[in-house]
């Protein structure tokens, strides 16, 4: 009993922070299911007396094309950058050459630049390629600037494959690509899951590229959400429903595959 008492402060702190953590989710959920009459600012903490889907329907009718844009952006960009990261990471982990560490570190630095420093040239370049204000331009941008992080995560991943597994392939006479296809790739599923979740989440949530490289109908969902929240006309309940819908895809991934999400978080932060 005294042990339980001694741990009371521990639980008090945990509960307090958990409330802090959950409050925004509570407000989003509760408000988005209120009827327009109940969804007033002064009653924002109260639970709805009846469940109403009005706000969800209203937000959906506005957001739908932008949600589709975001999927059309995030899915191909995630697949492409995972593939590139996998090949790069495999080479940096397993086929070092003279200067490969320097090249690796030079690539890695690309992860830490504030993207404002490349924004103007990027706009000019995409314009001259005819890719400005297209989903393709955004895909290309995310694939290119995704190279450092995907390469890093995959390099650390492949570095952990035991040497004898790779050497066994070498004795078979398989070369770089042979070993990649026959040995490394089949072992890569967890790596692809980690990188895929990480990239999808980042790309889905990204705002700077989205707002600068696209306009009007080409915009991803986060820009549309920002427009809704910035407008004085759109009601509170509709804003919360829109925020919920924009957050839902990455939240669902987190709930289903949280373990891999955390692994990506740690892998991205700790340079191997």
């Amino acid at each position: 009993m005294s042990k339980v008492l001694a741990r009371t402060p521990l639980y008090l702190v945990l509960i307090a922070v958990a409330i802090f953590s959950l409050v925004p989710l509570y407000i989003m959920l509760v408000t988005s299911f209120k009827s327009p009459v109940e969804a007033t600012i002064s009653r924002m903490w109260e639970l709805p007396s009846t469940l109403s889907l009005d706000a969800w329907r209203g937000a959906w009718s506005i957001l739908r094309p932008y949600l589709i844009n975001s999927f059309a952006l995030a899915i191909p960009a995630t697949l492409l950058s995972s593939l590139i990261g996998s090949i790069n990471g495999y080479i940096f982990a397993r086929w070092r050459f003279r200067g490969s560490e320097i090249v690796f570190n030079a690539l890695l630095l690309g992860m830490f630049i504030p993207y404002q420093i490349v924004l103007i040239p990027l706009v000019v370049t995409l314009q001259s390629m005819g890719l400005y204000n297209t989903i393709y331009g955004l895909v290309l941008t995310h694939v290119i600037y995704g190279i450092p992080i995907t390469t890093l995560i995959f390099r650390n991943f492949y570095a952990r494959i035991p040497n004898d597994v790779i050497e066994a392939g070498q004795i078979d006479g398989a070369g770089l690509l042979g070993i990649y296809r026959r040995i490394a790739l089949p072992l890569s599923l967890p790596g692809f899951v980690v990188v895929g979740i990480w990239q999808f989440t980042q790309i889905w949530n990204e705002f700077l590229w989205a707002v600068t490289l696209t306009s009007a109908g080409q915009r991803p969902v986060m820009v549309a959400l920002q427009n809704i929240s910035g407008s004085q006309i759109v009601e509170f309940d509709l804003q919360m429903a829109a925020a919920m819908q924009a957050a839902l895809p990455t939240l669902i991934i987190y709930v289903l595959l949280g373990r891999y999400f955390v692994r990506g978080l740690l892998a991205g932060a700790v340079k191997g």
């Binding site: 504030p114 040239p121 949530n205 919360m240």
Partner: protein, 336 residues
């Protein structure tokens, strides 16, 4: 890890050619292609990063000293006017003050909160993974969503203030609408040090990112063996001094990692401010990244936009260089 010899096509560090003598010739012929193959496969990425990172940085540097100050692109050399004007620019100076204050507060709060949570969770509370999931889920959410929701929660006429009002609090905080700067020391054009409005943004940012610090610290704590703690307990150390003398020093590399990652996110912060508050009255919540965006894409002041982004890059380098140096030093120390 050492860089492998350049003639070695072997995998990893320990590998070497173990082929039978008869097949050596075949291996050797394959070698010349195999030797070039890694570089060949990396070439697209190297070129892409060379152009889109390093080339573009140089390009932006050039734009910042060009005459490109209208909608018409003029890349002739125009001197360093864009920079010298920034030194006398109230909005830019306010933004610099804000982003530095914001970074210190945000990283500080996240480190303290993250460390506290990690230590508590490391003590194995009932319901373990559930707590972790609650603290980590905001990381999966966009700063845009965070901004939209916290804008309502910290709206002076809504959210938290409704609760404070019901609790009988007399003077309700103005949150991000406040224009006060405390303690308000005058320095040139701007007031120092902390714009009160930034506190609201720090709360929202820490809500989102504290879980990151917690996750890093938890990983660090799990790497500290129970034997070590037990040994300290046998030596008669109190729980508190075990944390202070044994565990906290061992978490130093984690702290550096957190400062690097959160610090660089914070210095370039754009979306959260853009969505939640905007530049604010008297630029109390403006940051260079927002100013850069508005200079470039709203005002067509490309040279100024480029100059601000160069300053941002320098800020990030100033933060990263000592942090990375410190990390390498701790890594060396742990190797010895």
């Amino acid at each position: 890890m050492a860089v492998g010899g350049d003639t070695e096509v072997a995998a990893g560090d320990a590998g070497s050619t173990r082929a039978e003598p008869a097949s050596r010739d075949r291996v050797r012929r394959k070698r010349s292609l195999e030797r070039a193959l890694p570089v060949l496969l990396l070439l697209p990425s190297i070129l892409a990063m060379g152009v889109f990172v390093y080339g573009f940085i140089a390009w932006t540097g050039w734009v910042s000293v060009s005459n490109w100050t209208t909608f018409v692109r003029d890349l002739s050399f125009g001197g360093f006017d864009a920079y010298t004007r920034l030194l006398d620019d109230f909005r830019f100076l306010s933004g610099m003050r804000n982003v530095i204050v914001f970074t210190v507060l945000f990283v500080g709060v996240s480190v303290v909160l993250g460390l506290t949570l990690a230590i508590l969770l490391d003590r194995d509370p009932w319901g373990g993974p559930l707590w972790r999931n609650i603290f980590l889920f905001p990381l999966a959410i966009s700063f845009v969503v965070t901004g939209v929701v916290w804008q309502w929660l910290l709206n002076p006429r809504a959210g938290v203030n409704l609760l404070l009002d019901r609790l009988g609090v007399e003077t309700l905080p103005m949150w991000y609408v406040s224009t006060a700067v405390v303690p308000g020391w005058r320095w040139g054009q701007i007031d120092l040090v902390i714009p009160v409005a930034l506190v609201a943004v720090v709360i929202a940012a820490a809500w989102q990112m504290s879980g990151f610090a917690m996750a890093i610290y938890l990983a660090g704590l799990q790497g500290i063996s129970e034997d070590l703690r037990e040994a300290a307990r046998v030596d008669g150390a109190s729980e508190f001094s075990i944390y202070r003398r044994v565990i906290l020093p061992m978490l130093r590399p984690m702290t550096i990692t957190i400062v690097i990652v959160l610090g660089h996110i914070s210095l370039k912060t754009f979306d959260l401010i853009f969505v939640m508050t905007g530049p604010g009255t008297g630029y109390v919540t403006d940051v260079p990244a927002v100013y850069m965006y508005e200079s470039t894409f709203r005002a067509n002041q490309f040279a100024r936009g480029a100059a601000i982004s160069v300053v941002l890059l320098v800020l990030v380098v100033l933060l990263m260089a000592p942090a990375i140096w410190a990390r390498n030093k701790t890594e060396e120390a742990s190797r010895e």
